[in-house]
Symmetry: C4
């Protein structure tokens, strides 16, 4: 049974990784998605530096949540593995993590600016701006750099799991976006939306440097898709997952 769960997880993580170049979020081998099996205490992640076109389920690496040890797989896991692990440890609601270098989200990360909430496209998914972290210190870069990359995100959200659920994305300053969600697939969806809203925000800011829409509009959009009063989508699981 545990094996079956893990096989399904590997398949979902594979598909989410293969989707990164298909949706235009990756250059070369950049980007990675992981998904966690909290019952088994492990997560599955893309190997480091393998071209997407060659990636198979067998290439994925299984990593232990508690200490980062590789428990299955012949290849070295993504260099960003420790960032994923840090986020999984800090935020219990997270089931998947995606990291990309998508053009417009990286531009905000490099400019050290939050992606502001400028409309309903953003509010449909993110209940607030997509925030940018502080810079890592020289010490944080010298030692456990990748784990500390997760740490500045945890710092940014004050370790608050509910904030991580409501705004499932952050920009690491000078680096790029990390997104997460209830599953690997949802974390990828959030990466796609993060890039889309960054693209639209850049154009909006060029037309109108300050353009905050009314909060009641944004709140309406967030709540019609999330929480107890959500009415977007179809409840049929066969539809929801296909």
């Amino acid at each position: 049974m545990a094996t079956d769960v893990l096989a399904a997880l590997r398949q979902e993580v594979l598909e989410a990784n293969l989707a990164i170049p298909q949706v235009g979020l990756a250059t070369l081998t950049w980007g990675n998605v992981s998904g966690i099996d909290r019952g088994a205490g492990v997560f599955v992640i893309k190997p480091s530096g393998v071209p997407y076109k060659d990636l198979t389920a067998d290439d994925l690496v299984t990593v232990r949540l508690s200490d980062g040890a590789v428990v299955n797989g012949d290849l070295r896991p993504s260099t960003d593995t420790e960032t994923h692990r840090c986020l999984y440890l800090a935020f219990p609601s997270i089931g998947g993590v995606t990291h990309t270098h998508s053009t417009h989200a990286v531009a905000f990360a490099q400019a050290r600016r939050d992606i502001p909430v400028l409309g309903t496209t953003h509010a449909d998914t993110f209940n607030g701006p997509i925030p940018v972290t502080r810079d890592l210190t020289a010490e944080e870069c010298a030692q456990d750099y990748e784990y500390n990359t997760g740490h500045v995100i945890v710092d940014l959200l004050a370790g608050d799991d509910q904030r991580a659920v409501e705004v499932p994305a952050a920009l690491v300053a000078g680096h790029g976006p990390f997104t997460w969600g209830a599953s690997a697939r949802k974390s990828l969806e959030h990466a796609i939306i993060c890039e889309a809203v960054a693209d639209i925000a850049l154009h909006t800011l060029s037309l109108s440097p300050t353009a905050p829409p009314p909060p009641h509009l944004l709140n309406r959009h967030y709540t019609r898709k999330h929480g107890p009063d959500a009415y977007y989508g179809n409840p049929d699981p066969a539809v929801a997952t296909r």
Copy 2:
């Protein structure tokens, strides 16, 4: 006979919805097209939150114009259904409605700026700027939000059917474009053109913040494609519809 009409309508609405991602106007499941059979008093619309790649004619939902009741279909209709219904009720000339979150049109909607008429590409289709609505009030967001989203468009056009025919598009402030036309297919075409002229307008404004072309040029382009003296295209219906 009515059934045949409806079957043809379903097919047209299906194809128009499937075209949204093909022409690059959609992210994930965003966007929807509907088409109306005024004789039968119903319109056909995309279900809520179903991925385009899985969408079939059977998934489409038939909604009654008079009260919004679902009269056919197993799935929940698009959350934007009431907006479509409001537009159909207000403007008798409308045969189809399209809503997207296309990047450049949304940028204008978020900046609360009309898409100005800057050249013949715009004037070929739209006889004036593509206007942006006022913000919805807190009350309009709290109750019947989606119907009120249509209502602010109707307000913007003072409920004038002829204005809706001449400028078959509007931007809902802080949200995005709604377009319409004589059929579902035409409403989609207007969504494509709305996005194209928004894209070109953004570049034009970066080169020249104010660049209005002479009205006689714009008028010539609109009238050579529309109205009694139109001479664009080919009258052969086999050509026009294929």
Copy 3:
């Protein structure tokens, strides 16, 4: 023999028209290419408003150069036919004409700004800025509008065939680019390059509002591809045409 020439011309014009959407220069049915057989005194052009995906060689329309009469074809020729005819009459070196509404070139046309020579990418093909015409007058719009659209281009170049050869493109103010060349295929190539240099120029101007490169560099690039000392490409016709 004349029939064979015309059959080859129709095929080239068809392929050039079909390439417009393939290279991303067209939205919907926008854009058209023609090619001329000066011996026969006719040119072949796309019909008006036919979707590219349905276009066949049989749909193309043959038009007499001297008076614009349709001499072959069941469909109405492009509304822009008279513009093509005006250019063919004014510039004897022209063998093909292309018109598009490509995004970045249209932005310059709408902003009424020449596309300046900012580097060798431009100078490889165009021996000077791509100029923008004056506005058409109200009279020129009211009568023979499409022919007058060609006329303002001829005006802009002072009817000088050699200038048309050296800078095979112009922007009609408030409208968009027309390009031409020794053949239909070359006119299409110039449309592709016109759009590419407009795109690069927009980015260049955002980085550096005035950035003229040294004339000797530009001249070197133009002359290594054009004129008696050209050494770009391969002389083998089999290579040149495949």
Copy 4:
């Protein structure tokens, strides 16, 4: 054996050239990649002006490093061949060279601005800004123009092979990017990354005209991928090369 080496080199150079349009870096026939066999004292390069879709291994031209003579091939080599040869002679670590006219990198070249290091996406590959050369003089344009195009790059790097290894790219002022690497394939990868970081940099600068990230972050990213302490990727050659 030497023949086998050369056959493998031709295949790699062919694939790298064919990848240029696939990754969106080329317009028409623009762009070229070469690879060198230093043992044999020759390099293999794309012929001049041949469309990518028609390019075969047999079309590639083999050129002698010492004097630029064509030693194999029926077609004229790329007009940029002497630029490649100059770079191979100056920098012994170089195994491949790529030249493109990719949109955003050309914009920086035309604006005569270095592509600044604005984040880790850049620092992962380039250990410093991608610098822009001085203008070529009128004399350098008049005689041996293409060789001198390489010369201004060598000048820019003070002929320092180690600098060429650490920042494997330069922008020729008013022209565009040249990139290089240990192999033809790596030089192409650097062309792809050069364009990606130029694109992101343009957006970053529009959000924040000056946004230098901390040097320790950039250094960490460069050193985790390059040099003795690199830990990115997988050592398995089967993985690395597939």
